[in-house]
Each structure stands twice: as structure tokens, then as C-alpha cells.
């Protein structure tokens, strides 16, 4: 059974799956790199964005690949406002309090969704959901290929923002030396909020790309959070290219370990790699010096 006939499709599949993981991780790593907090609300925000994409399709009839251009900016605004007016204010700038506030936010978002829309599992039925490209030895699902391309586009956009814009330079300055940035007149609260907004927008993109093939219910986003943490660590906390490479790598590892160890035990492989990386090279495989 481990002939190339199955090995190569499994590898390809790992890359496609990993791309979506990378998108979720991009937002997380950005927020971590600048604010140095582990955002517990990440999964809940992903769920919220998936609901937004779901209703955009069901109520307004907008395809997720189009609604992403509305939902991503919308979630940027949501993220900005959350950081500026909730997380920043309630946490008084202390890491441990940010932790609790994001945790509280996760509880609020998840249960507001439950209260509003019940626990039903919802799926959308787009015409291209089952379109595939025949490679002869395997089929590649079109929506997954779109996701694969999108992760590079999003990473490129992030990279351009970071290197070419003023706010990007400010974000990098704050990430590197907060106090110094503050002294040189940078509005740190604003930079934090923009970063959180960008991270949340990444999650919104991931949500729109997931909806054609995945489902949403009030807990759906949580399935991606632990894996995203793993990718963030693997790629180096705060590193955008690291998150992309880490995501693809974890996707392949997951696919292969599922092939060799089975799906239940296969997940252990991911976390063992995670632990090993932390113990041996905590700055991540692709991270700069710690």
C-alpha cells in the first residue's frame, strides 16, 4: 500500500491541506510576533468568519471567493476594534491579562454564535465544490488548489505591507523594540490594533477559503487552533515565511503520519515534532535568532 501510487497523492494532499493551516497560522504568528500574546480567541474568530462567509452565501448569494473581499476588511475592522477597545483596555498591557481577555472573548464569541444560530452543522453547496483536476494518478480538488495559491498571495500582501508601508515599518519597530518605538513617537496602541486587525483579516481569508469544502458550527474553528500553534512554533514565532513553510510542512507530516500511523495516532506525530522543535530549536526551524 505504500507504493508511489498513494505516496505522491498523499504528499500533494498534505501540501494542499497545509496551505489552509498556514493561512490560519499567519494571523496567529503576526499577532504573536508583535503583541507577544497567545491569542486564545483565534479559533472563535475563525468560526465567526466562517459564519460570515456562510451567511454571505446563503442570504446574499455571494460566493465565498468574492465575499472574501468584503469579509476580510470587515474582520480587519473587527480585530482592530477588539484590540483597541477591549483587549488593550481590559488587559492594561499585561500579558497574563491579555491571555484571560482573549479567553473571555473566545467564550463570548462562541456562545453568541451558539445562541444566535444553534449548534447546527452548516455547509454550503457551491458548484465548484466537486470540480477536480485529473492528474492521471490522482484528482486535485479545485477549491483546495485555490487555497494553496491564496496562501502565497496573502503572504505576499503581508510582506509588502510590512516592508513598503509606514504602518508596516511601525509594526516592525514595535515588534523589535517597543519602548524605543514609543519614544520615537509611534502610537503603540494603534500599531497593536492594526496588527491584531491584520491577523484577524488573515483568519477571515482562511474562513472564506475553507467554506466551500468544510462545515461550520459554533465550535468549528477550534479544530484548527492547536495545529496553528504548532505551525507558529515550527516556523518561528512572528515569522511570516516561517508560517507558510511551517504550514506546508505540517500538512505533509500530517498526511504522511496518517498514512503510516493511522489518523488517531498520526496526530501524535505532529505534537512530538512540536515538542522536539521547542526543546531543541525554540526559535523555530525558519526563525531568525531567538
Amino acid at each position: 500500500m505504500l507504493s508511489p501510487v498513494i505516496l505522491i497523492p498523499a504528499l500533494l494532499n498534505g501540501l494542499l491541506t497545509g496551505a489552509v493551516y498556514a493561512l490560519v497560522a499567519l494571523g496567529l504568528t503576526l499577532i504573536y510576533g508583535v503583541l507577544h500574546i497567545i491569542n486564545f480567541a483565534h479559533g472563535a474568530l475563525l468560526t465567526a468568519a466562517m459564519f460570515a462567509a456562510y451567511f454571505a452565501f446563503k442570504v446574499l448569494g455571494i460566493d465565498p471567493y468574492l465575499s472574501v473581499f468584503i469579509i476580510a476588511p470587515l474582520f480587519f475592522a473587527v480585530g482592530y476594534a477588539l484590540q483597541r477597545f477591549v483587549i488593550g483596555l481590559a488587559s492594561h498591557g499585561e500579558d497574563r491579562n491579555m491571555l484571560l481577555v482573549t479567553l473571555g472573548l473566545a467564550v463570548v464569541i462562541e456562545n453568541a454564535l451558539l445562541f444566535g444560530f444553534r449548534g447546527d452543522t452548516r455547509t454550503i453547496d457551491v458548484p465548484y465544490a466537486f470540480q477536480t483536476i485529473d492528474l492521471g494518478f490522482t484528482y486535485l480538488a479545485v477549491p483546495r488548489l485555490v487555497g494553496f495559491v491564496a496562501v502565497f498571495v496573502v503572504a505576499l500582501i503581508l510582506w509588502l505591507i510590512m516592508s513598503l508601508t509606514d504602518i508596516g515599518r511601525a509594526i516592525r519597530a514595535v515588534a523589535k523594540e517597543k519602548l524605543g518605538a514609543q519614544l520615537s513617537g509611534i502610537d503603540v496602541a494603534h500599531v497593536y490594533a492594526v496588527t491584531f486587525g491584520l491577523g484577524t483579516a488573515c483568519v477571515a481569508v482562511a474562513a472564506c477559503l475553507l467554506m466551500p469544502t468544510y462545515y461550520v458550527n459554533p465550535g468549528a474553528g477550534n479544530a484548527f487552533v492547536l495545529i496553528a500553534f504548532t505551525i507558529v512554533v515550527l516556523g518561528g514565532m512572528g515569522s511570516v515565511p516561517g508560517a507558510v513553510l511551517g504550514g506546508l510542512m505540517i500538512g505533509v507530516v500530517e498526511s504522511l503520519s496518517s498514512l503510516f500511523l493511522g489518523d488517531s495516532l498520526g496526530q501524535v506525530g505532529i505534537f512530538l515534532i512540536f515538542i522536539a522543535v521547542l526543546l531543541v530549536r525554540p526559535q523555530g526551524l525558519f526563525g531568525a535568532n531567538a
Partner: protein
């Protein structure tokens, strides 16, 4: 949800408070169960996990219980108790055993005569035992784990089938269907979730199918949730089994079915057990193409029962799907109401006695009259179902069937 709380009509309210006041005045309130004034509402605990990961099932279960209570009250309540109304006390188990236990304590303190629900086996194990402390009758609605019923708890009853019965029926049905099709399927692959029901089932299937001439090519376990089924489907494709046997929850089932469609994997048949989706109207409606021909062995209502069909229409009119949580809870409440009639008392001990000796035939499930041994309803059994023509038909047991199996489908 509109049916969350059944408000008493103003007249009922006045009547009950007036009676309560009268009872208090004469000092009988201290022993309400013994010297119950005729018509005093009977409190029933409706315990479901309506928040947390199980919230969908919990909400559906609550709906079923509430519909049953509504109907019983509208039909004149418990006649042996002077037309006493059932007064539901809803509780949220929060999808955890600890949450369920806290609710049992509250329900006991509020003086319920009986509790119905729990849904998940893990919750039921904790809640039945908490209720046992107070000799409080408890009817498990779903909770299929066999050890819920084998601990010798006198207060615990289960109207529906347990895991062992379901698994054996699943195997017998499969063999019957395959034999009728001239043993069309020889090789199988099992894809199961890795907790109680999936893992337990896979073990049983692996023990029994080879004896019956099937070859189990591979057994694949996966966790809940599983994000991606592509590797599993690749394995299925590589082995090309005649039959795929999935045993997992709805979300994973949807992903598996979608991925199989994407990868153009079409076995001769899909036979799921307690399948999250193959006996789900939601799945049939949303994925008619993927659903067509899928067989299942699962909880199912008696399709020949007019009451069941009427209830189905009612639930659908509310914009909800007619799922097993709904009719199992509906039936469990009916069981309690029947026992209250025969006990002619809301006293817990008498109710337990009435439940244990129950011979109720007026329900909507294909179980025959109830007969409890150590709390388990002996007639309880699952049905074999198949998706045919965008509807779900019962194909086995023949007594309740409304269609013939179509196998192989390709």
C-alpha cells in the same frame, strides 16, 4: 427556539397556585408525593447538553421532550392523577459529566419525579448515578454505552437499544443484505471515529465479519474532529473495497462523503453504523447525490406509525430535522407518562416500580411493547435504513420495512 418553556396558561397557573395555597394551608405540602392533590403538576427533568460541543444533539433532544410534554398536556395530562399536567424543568448539562451532575442536584432539589435525557454516554454515566442517590427515576434517552445499564442502578432505565444490540443488528443486517444480493460484497474497509462507539464497533466487526466470509482489508481510526479525509480516501481508493463501513459523527461523515466524491471513489455500497449522516434527513437534503444508496443501521422511528409520521411533520414545520434525538426523547417522555398513569402516583419509588413493569405499546418506535430487564428495554433495536429517491427508507427488519434494499448500487 419557541418551545423552550411551555408556559402554563393563566387558568392553569391560577388553578395550580390555588391548589398549592390550599395544600400549604392544610399542611400537606410537606408530603406532596403521598398526599398529592389531584391535578398538581408533575415535575419532569429534561436534561440535555444544550451548550458545548454536543449542543446540536442536546437542542434536538430537548425539542423532542418538549413536544411530547406539550402533546400530553394538551391531551388532558395524566388522567390517573386527575389530569395533572407535566411540568418540565429544563437543564443544561454543558456537554460535560460535571455539568450534568450539577443539574441532577438542582432537579432533585426542585422535587422532580423523574429525569429524562443525558444524551452522551459519558454524561449518562454520571447523571444516572447522581440520581441514584435520591432513588430518582432516570430514563436515558440515547447514551448507548452498555455499562450505563450494567451497574445495577435500580433507578435507571433505557428505552432505546444499547451498543451491543446495535452492533449485532448491524452485522446481521449486513449479512442478510449481502446474501440477498448474491454475496456481492466480499471485501470491506472500516472507517471509524476513535471513541466508544466507533472503536467498539470496529472491534466487533473485525471479530465477526471474517467468519461470515468478508475480508476486512483495513480498519482506519480517526479522531473527532478530523479536519481532512483525503489521506483516508486515498487509502480506500488504493484498496478498492466492495463496501465501505463508516462509523462516525455527522461532521466527519459529511467530510468523508464529500472527499470520496471529489476523489471519484465509488464502492459497491456504503454501509454505515450509527452513521452520523446516512440516516439524517439533513444530509439527504443537502447532499442528495452523495447520499443516494447509502445504507445505515441506526436508531429509527417506526415508519408505519401514524403518530411518528405526524410528529415528523410537526418537527419539520418548525424548520428542524427529524433526528433520532427528537424521537428518542419524545418516546422516553411518553414512557414516563405511561408509567405515571399506571403508578397513579408521582412518587419516585412507585414510578420506578411502574417503569420496571412497563408494557407500553403505544409508542412510535419499532420496538414492540416495552419489557424492562435490569432497566433495559428488551425490544429496543435499531433499524436498517437506506437512502432511496431522496428519502430515507427502512429496509430491515422486514416487519417495519417500507422499502426493499437496493444493493449493490453500482
Amino acid at each position: 427556539m419557541s418551545t423552550r418553556k411551555i408556559p402554563l396558561s393563566r387558568r392553569q397557573f391560577i388553578a395550580s397556585t390555588a391548589l398549592g395555597a390550599a395544600a400549604a394551608a392544610t399542611g400537606t405540602i410537606a408530603m406532596p408525593s403521598v398526599l398529592r392533590a389531584a391535578g398538581t403538576p408533575v415535575k419532569i427533568g429534561v436534561l440535555q447538553p444544550v451548550t458545548g460541543p454536543l449542543s446540536y444533539s442536546g437542542t434536538q433532544g430537548q425539542l423532542g421532550a418538549m413536544l411530547a410534554i406539550e402533546e400530553i398536556n394538551a391531551a388532558g395530562g395524566i388522567k390517573a392523577l386527575g389530569g395533572a399536567q407535566l411540568d418540565p424543568m429544563v437543564g443544561d448539562a454543558q456537554s460535560t459529566p460535571a455539568g450534568g451532575t450539577a443539574e441532577v442536584e438542582k432537579m432533585n432539589a426542585a422535587g422532580v419525579s423523574c429525569i429524562v435525557g443525558g444524551y452522551a454516554s459519558g454524561i449518562c454515566l454520571a447523571t444516572t448515578q447522581a440520581a441514584a442517590r435520591y432513588d430518582l427515576p432516570y430514563v436515558v434517552d440515547v447514551g448507548v454505552a452498555d455499562n450505563i445499564m450494567t451497574r445495577g442502578l435500580k433507578n435507571t432505565f433505557r428505552f432505546g437499544p444499547g451498543f451491543g444490540v446495535i452492533a449485532n443488528a448491524a452485522i446481521d443486517n449486513l449479512i442478510a443484505i449481502n446474501d440477498a444480493a448474491g454475496k456481492a460484497a466480499k471485501t470491506v474497509m472500516i472507517v471509524h471515529e476513535d471513541s466508544l462507539f466507533g472503536a467498539g464497533l470496529a472491534k466487533l466487526l473485525n471479530a465477526k465479519l471474517p467468519e461470515k466470509g468478508f475480508q476486512v482489508l483495513e480498519t482506519i481510526a480517526h479522531p473527532t474532529p478530523t479536519r481532512d479525509f483525503n489521506t483516508i480516501v486515498l487509502k480506500i481508493k488504493a484498496q478498492n473495497p466492495d463496501l465501505v463501513i463508516p462509523a462516525n459523527y455527522y461532521n466527519e461523515y459529511v467530510l468523508l462523503a464529500r472527499t470520496m466524491q471529489q476523489q471519484h471513489v465509488k464502492p459497491k455500497g456504503i454501509y454505515s453504523v450509527l452513521g452520523g449522516a446516512a440516516s439524517s434527513y439533513k444530509f439527504v437534503k443537502e447532499f442528495p447525490e452523495a447520499a443516494n444508496g447509502i445504507m445505515d443501521c441506526n436508531h429509527w422511528f417506526n415508519p408505519l406509525s401514524d403518530k411518528a409520521q405526524a410528529l415528523k411533520k410537526k418537527v419539520e414545520a418548525k424548520g428542524q430535522f427529524f433526528t433520532y434525538e427528537v424521537y428518542l426523547n419524545y418516546a422516553s417522555i411518553g414512557l414516563v407518562a405511561d408509567a405515571l398513569e399506571r403508578a397513579a402516583s408521582a412518587d419516585r419509588a412507585k414510578l420506578i416500580e411502574a417503569l420496571a413493569s412497563s408494557t407500553w405499546a403505544g409508542h412510535i418506535m419499532p420496538y414492540g411493547p416495552t419489557k424492562f430487564v435490569d432497566g433495559q428495554n428488551q425490544g429496543a433495536a435499531p433499524c436498517g435504513t437506506q437512502v432511496q429517491g431522496n428519502d430515507i427508507k427502512v429496509i430491515l427488519p422486514a416487519k417495519f420495512a417500507d422499502a426493499k434494499p437496493k444493493f449493490p448500487i453500482t
